[in-house]
């Protein structure tokens, strides 16, 4: 049975872990509640999540299953507070966003114990598709409102 990597807290802003291949990952959350004011029922606990490689060879870690287990472990701790919600976007700067999405999705479906619900979206911004997703605890008391708001944000202006 594989175990997650040890999560450390190097500062007041992030979490880190180092893989057996010496790849150093940094995880951080940003509070975006203020940007969801049009959806007052759901706007209190909305965060985005990012993970960055800060040193080491990312390619060497591509097949390391413990990274996915560690990320899902982070989510489990995050969703210990039932009201918490994650909305995230996939990086499109290097055209590898579909590969990243597939990797992330494979981790999610493999290691999620069913307590976290994921909704995928594609937003259109000035003709460009931005892949995004919602993660929410299945017992969140505002589950339906949150999913509705997320889908609404991905709808085009004028759509219902």
């Amino acid at each position: 049975m594989l175990s997650p990597y040890q999560l450390t807290e190097p500062d007041d802003f992030s979490y880190e872990f180092v893989t057996s291949q010496e790849v150093h990952y940094q995880i951080y959350f940003l509070d975006y509640s203020a940007m969801f004011v049009d959806y007052p029922d759901v706007s209190k606990f909305i965060y985005t999540f990012n993970i960055d490689v800060i040193s080491g060879n990312e390619k060497s870690a591509f097949t390391d299953e413990r990274i996915g287990i560690t990320v899902v472990e982070v989510f489990k701790k995050f969703f210990a507070k039932i009201e918490n919600v994650i909305v995230y976007v996939c990086d499109t700067t290097d055209e590898k966003h579909y590969a990243r999405k597939r990797k992330f999705d494979s981790w999610f479906w493999k290691y999620n114990d069913g307590n976290i619900i994921k909704e995928d979206g594609i937003a259109i911004i000035e003709g460009i598709e931005i892949i995004n997703a919602l993660l929410v605890q299945k017992d969140n008391p505002k589950l339906n409102e949150i999913i509705f708001a997320f889908k609404d944000l991905n709808n085009k202006v004028g759509e219902k």
Partner: protein, 55 residues
């Protein structure tokens, strides 16, 4: 139909501003970290939080 598709592709999503901001923030922070920068140097620009339960 083709004209309708073209028009639809030029319309932004309702959350375009939010998603665009998220993407810009993510890119800016990622570039900063890749240059060896620290998140603490960006603390006045972005609202970093630590929401993980330690229990």
């Amino acid at each position: 139909m083709e004209v309708k598709d073209k028009i639809n592709k030029t319309l932004n999503s309702k959350g375009a501003t939010i998603f665009k901001k998220m993407l810009e923030d993510k890119d800016a922070i990622s570039k900063h970290l890749k240059k060896g920068g620290k998140l603490s140097e960006l603390k006045d620009k972005f609202k970093f939080v630590k929401p993980l339960s330690t229990n």
